[in-house]
């Protein structure tokens, strides 16, 4: 709870931690993250996998296993060692393996702790996956206060400069694009990736143009809204010239 209250913009990351292989917004510094780090430092990475809801990987086993499990991570790390990859590539791939975190237990445990129940013996770590907007709020409030906030009878938001929701989303997409551009694809992926990035950028451009002509943005927000659009478009052009 304290962690959530203290959460700032950089504390919620678009992680690679989900065994589903889908990007996952994730709060850093939870007991689950600590548990994962501890297992890694003890040379025993991965979770015991008691639930198996996300067991979909058949790279090494006939029966599907979860990529956050001890079993998978051990097998995958052993395989990586034998591949004689360049150091940098090796480290990157190892990191990708170790990122995966048990969500079945991590996302269930808060209820167990709250009601003094045991979900799975000896596993008590909690994972939290808020949206990035959590950074704008930092108070614990009653249900009534929250409805008051929602219906405008009160304001509990700390961040006075919270961007317009369209801008907030645009910023997230720009972060995502920057990240995609820093990752160097293998030669065979290169053409495909280039096509993807080109289309991604052109869709962003279209979005920006749409927002520029949007008449429903509040007058008080208009200046900030437009300048955010201009800055983003400028950066987008620079990125496109550099990469495409």
């Amino acid at each position: 709870m304290q962690l959530l209250c203290a959460a700032k913009e950089n504390d919620v990351v678009l992680s690679n931690n989900s065994p589903l292989g889908v990007r996952f917004h994730y709060l850093k510094g939870t007991s689950s993250a600590n548990e994962k780090a501890e297992r890694i430092s003890k040379g025993n990475p991965g979770s015991p996998c008691t639930e198996k809801h996300l067991s979909f990987n058949t790279e090494f086993t006939k029966e599907p296993i979860c990529t956050a499990s001890k079993k998978y991570q051990k097998l995958k790390l052993e395989q990586l060692q034998t591949l004689q990859l360049p150091q940098q590539e090796y480290e990157k791939q190892v990191q990708e393996v170790l990122d995966k975190e048990c969500l079945c237990v991590g996302l269930s445990n808060s209820a167990a702790i709250n009601y003094q129940q045991t979900f799975v013996k000896k596993l008590e770590a909690v994972t939290i996956c808020p949206g990035p907007n959590i950074a704008n709020f930092s108070k614990v409030v009653s249900l009534q206060t929250m409805t008051d906030h929602i219906y405008g009878r009160e304001n509990i938001m700390e961040n006075k400069n919270r961007p317009h929701m369209f801008i907030a989303e645009l910023n997230l997409y720009m972060n995502y694009l920057r990240e995609q551009l820093t990752e160097s694809p293998s030669p065979e992926q290169d053409a495909k990736k280039k096509k993807y990035i080109t289309s991604f950028c052109s869709n962003l451009h279209e979005g920006i143009t749409y927002y520029r002509n949007l008449s429903t943005v509040a007058v008080t927000e208009r200046t900030a809204f437009d300048s955010a659009l201009n800055n983003t478009e400028e950066e987008l052009n620079v990125l496109m010239t550099a990469h495409l």
């Binding site: 678009l14 889908v22 990007r23 969500l103 009534q144 929701m165 869709n203 979005g207 008449s215």
Partner: protein, 354 residues
């Protein structure tokens, strides 16, 4: 939202007219909650063990029934509470938005001095109290196959299918199942045999299907697939590809504004084409009733945006067709976490602009 964080939110908020969503993916968690709530209510708790046939669906159905009965009991209690400071009935009305008719009547009642008239208005207000819906979420990709003791594949036993069966077998009404994470043909095919998802003769669904989408194309594809099976999607719930919690399905650079615009311009087209397919599928089924037209709701969900801002954003015709619903994040009593946290998806009573 994650598994535990809203697993019992209806118990905390439904009586105040607030709808909320339970994830029904982790049945061990559901079983743990059964144990907790049966004991809390001084009722006998009979565990449903993993060796029982279809245990996953049974655990889920029974838990949903339990939550439903707890909420109904709470609502009856709230309805008969006295209109006095600190009581739950006061809380119910205080939380309503100022512009709601009921809120205005409530304010009027509080100022009244004429006792018989006051009583009369009070009993009218009591009669208008409705609980929020108890909805469920199934992440369609969590659909591992399951095997019995002999190692044979269990028919219709995959996890998402079994979870869905738990929902349809429950006695929830005015409830929705929300599918997230995209298309799962096996799960969607199974829907065809669930008569519980059909509308009654008046075109009312007691159990509705909601599909979460990140763009129009996805809505059209999934909607058509389901319509061909005779399943009506009552709502497409739009979520930003990246501005969301948990699993994030980034679009190929399509931003929310243009996505909403596309929904706005093509909403009728979408409804009509889905309805045509739906009715054609219905004609092949003997049990089903033909409809003239069914409602389709399109909503975009935002985290904690104040109504006045939302109104502004969707007014001036740009997004009138779209609905905004506001999510509560931070009310610890309504969620799972005293010492260790998270956030929650609860929506207030008033679903606007449907």
């Amino acid at each position: 939202m994650g598994l535990a964080y809203t697993v019992d939110s209806p118990v905390k908020v439904a009586r105040f007219g607030i709808s909320s969503v339970i994830s029904i993916v982790e049945d061990r968690l559901i079983e743990m909650m059964r144990s907790h709530y049966y004991q809390a209510a001084n009722l006998p708790y009979t565990p449903i063990a993993v060796h029982e046939e279809d245990y996953r669906a049974k655990r889920i159905a029974d838990y949903l029934n339990l939550v439903n009965s707890i909420v109904q009991e709470q609502v009856e209690k709230l309805k008969t509470a006295a209109f006095e400071k600190g009581s739950e009935i006061i809380k119910y009305f205080e939380m309503l938005p100022e512009d709601s008719k009921l809120k205005q009547l409530y304010r009027q009642m509080m100022k009244m001095n004429n006792e018989p008239e006051k009583q009369q208005l009070q009993s009218y207000l009591r009669s208008q109290i409705v609980p929020g819906s108890i909805d469920v979420n199934i992440m369609t990709k969590v659909d591992r196959e399951t095997y019995n003791k002999e190692g044979a594949l269990v028919e219709d036993g995959s996890e998402a299918v079994a979870a869905l069966r738990g929902f349809v077998q429950s006695d929830l009404s005015n409830s929705s199942v929300i599918f997230s994470a995209g298309m799962n043909p096996r799960l969607y095919n199974y829907l065809e045999q669930c008569n519980e998802l059909d509308a009654n003769e008046e075109g009312i669904f007691t159990k509705k299907v909601i599909v979460k989408v990140s763009d129009y194309r996805s809505a059209l594809i999934q909607g058509k697939y389901l319509a061909k099976k005779g399943i009506w999607v009552s709502e497409f719930r739009i979520e930003s590809g990246l501005n969301c919690g948990g699993h994030a399905f980034a679009t190929e650079g399509y931003l929310l504004g243009p996505i909403l615009e596309e929904f706005k311009t093509k909403k009728e087209e979408l409804r009509n084409s889905l309805f045509e397919l739906f009715n054609a599928a219905q004609q092949k089924r003997t049990t089903a009733v033909l409809m003239q037209r069914l409602p389709l709701c399109i909503q975009y969900r935002v985290a904690l945006v104040q109504v006045k801002k939302m109104n502004f954003c969707i007014s001036n015709t740009a997004y009138k067709a779209l609905a905004g619903v506001h999510l509560f994040y931070w009310c610890p009593k309504q969620q799972q976490w005293m010492k260790k946290p998270c956030s929650c998806y609860v929506q207030p009573k008033k679903t606007m602009w449907c």
